[in-house]
């Protein structure tokens, strides 16, 4: 059903630390790998080795340059996937009931055998979290690795989303954001985690942690005056040559 369930007590989601993400795209690759081989239709590529490669991804890493009013610009890597919104606009627009939000843990999923591939859910999502697979003709989106997190056939340390498991810089955290005492909730509270596009009213479950303030740039040019390369009060032959050449028409002053 595409009617949203009442808000669940358990809200599984991700916390992404923009301070520690190094932009290596390992989460993108592990996501594509796991979700191609497991739950639902594989994530296809078109012309993977051709002139115009494209393909379906559930997680993509953007990079932004942020220019403060004073000081140096910062480069911030920005992984983005489904935010499993509490008020998910992608679910209510679905005409077939293929899109749904789970009442038990808040994960937003697509029942691919009901999806007609109309694309309306992707229109309704402000975050670009949904991509219509060009080969399968069904909508693909992050499942929060629902086939890992509850999977008792996997060792316990692997029961988290593939992107979180693989992140080498510890920039991705998985947990219950509905529980104020969970590690992820504490992290969000400590670091001032925020929502993307809060004005869209989607109430995302996933949170982003802001980059920590940068240190001031130290004063580097203490020695610079002593290293001044050109004497302005030249004497002798070189001084004479400098003055003479400068006085010629077109000479450098």
């Amino acid at each position: 059903m595409t009617q949203l369930p009442p808000p669940s007590a358990k809200k599984l989601g991700l916390v992404i630390d923009l301070d520690t993400c190094v932009g290596c795209h390992a989460c993108v690759v592990s996501c594509k790998g796991w979700n191609t081989e497991n739950y639902g239709a594989p994530l296809s590529d078109q012309q993977a080795y051709g002139a115009n490669p494209s393909g379906t991804f559930l997680n993509r890493v953007h990079s932004y340059e942020v220019q403060p009013e004073q000081g140096e610009a910062q480069l911030i890597h920005f992984p983005k996937s489904c935010l499993h919104c509490e008020d998910a606009p992608c679910v209510t627009v679905c005409p077939t009931g293929a899109s749904y939000k789970r009442s038990e843990d808040g994960i937003v999923l697509v029942n691919e055998s009901d999806c007609i591939g109309c694309g309306l859910c992707a229109w309704a999502c402000p975050y670009g979290a949904r991509e219509l697979d060009a080969k399968e003709g069904v909508m693909k989106k992050c499942t929060l690795c629902v086939d890992r997190i509850y999977n008792e056939n996997l060792p316990e340390e692997d029961r988290q989303p593939a992107c979180v498991r693989t992140c080498p810089s510890g920039a991705r955290h998985f947990g219950d954001l509905g529980d104020a005492e969970s590690d992820v909730s504490k992290l969000v509270a400590e670091r001032g985690g925020f929502d993307l596009m809060p004005e869209q009213g989607t109430k995302p479950v996933n949170k982003y942690l802001p980059p920590r303030p940068k240190d001031e740039m130290p004063e580097f040019d203490i020695l610079a005056p002593y290293l001044e390369p050109i004497a302005s009060d030249g004497k002798g032959f070189v001084g004479w040559l400098d003055k003479t050449l400068s006085s010629l028409p077109g000479g450098a002053k």
Partner: protein, 290 residues
């Protein structure tokens, strides 16, 4: 937004077809026998032809029947139900006129309202999109309804009503464009809210997530076609509204009437193309584009 041909054809021709059904249902013209058959055939070819065209952009059209289930929340589902209901009711009404020469007034009235309902539910698919600020406005459904009943009046040869509706449509369309041009900025969604990094400074897209394109960029970012938007708007107003009205004001002649209809259709096709090509989805912000 990507201006998909199938959706432009659907919006244009189904709008006209249901507009014609609206006037037929209201009894603005009451043909009987063969005449009625031809009128209803034209309306059904337009309405159903458009609906069929709209299924071409589906990934799995064979499952389309499932789209009737979620009427409680989905405007697309409501549109489907409304369309089937309107087509069945108007078929009963049409059969009365064609085979029995009888006008079932109440059935026609219900069919006319349902035909408007199809156009309204279609328009709400777009008007509900918070992600496309240009569309999320009362002018979207109003314009859809005006174009549909205006085009229907033109097709059914009601000169005075058609002229009034087309003039109103032209004025409203100019207002919709002018007000729509500022709506994205007024929505308050920008790169700073999209990334949440506005507290640090001005955000610029430095590097996209991939070297090629993707579904999102193809579907939601359509900058190429906007280059000539200003000229296209003028031509659209001329073809869809001004030229048909001028042709209607001339002494009646079947050639002028046919030209008025063709000009209107060409104009509405362009109008629909602009409706999509100029609509900016907020997801473009993540790519530093609109």
């Amino acid at each position: 937004m990507h201006p998909a041909a199938s959706v432009i054809l659907f919006n244009t021709f189904s709008g006209l077809g249901f507009g014609l059904l609206f006037w037929l249902g209201l009894g603005a013209l009451v043909p009987t026998g063969m005449g009625a058959f031809i009128w209803f055939a034209i309306a059904y070819i337009l309405a159903v032809g458009g609906l069929i065209a709209s299924t071409f952009h589906l990934g799995h059209p064979e499952r389309a029947i499932k789209a009737f289930s979620q009427w409680k929340t989905s405007w697309l589902s409501r549109e489907g139900i409304c369309a089937v209901f309107a087509l069945i009711v108007m078929a009963i009404y049409g059969a009365g006129l064609v085979f029995a020469g009888t006008r079932l007034g109440l059935v026609g009235f219900i069919g006319a309202i349902a035909s408007l309902g199809v156009v309204f539910t279609t328009s709400m698919i777009y008007a509900q999109m918070k992600t496309v600020p240009r569309w999320r406005h009362w002018t979207t459904p109003t314009m859809y309804l005006l174009l549909s009943i205006g085009g229907g009046a033109l097709l059914s040869g009601q000169i005075r009503i058609a002229a009034v509706l087309l003039i109103a449509g032209g004025i409203l369309q100019i207002f919709a464009w002018a007000s729509g041009d500022t709506r994205f900025q007024a929505s308050g969604t920008n790169m700073e809210t999209a990334t949440g990094l506005g507290h640090i400074g001005k955000v610029r897209a430095f590097e996209p997530p991939h070297t090629g394109t993707n579904y999102l960029m193809h579907e939601f970012i359509h900058q190429v076609g906007r280059k000539h938007a200003d000229q296209l708007r003028i031509i659209t107003i001329g073809l869809a509204f001004i030229l048909p009205v001028l042709l209607l004001l001339l002494p009646f002649n079947h050639i002028f009437a046919a030209l008025a209809v063709l000009s209107h259709i060409a104009g509405v096709l362009m109008l629909r193309w602009l409706f999509f090509a100029q609509a900016e989805h907020v997801v473009g912000l993540y790519y530093g584009k609109r």
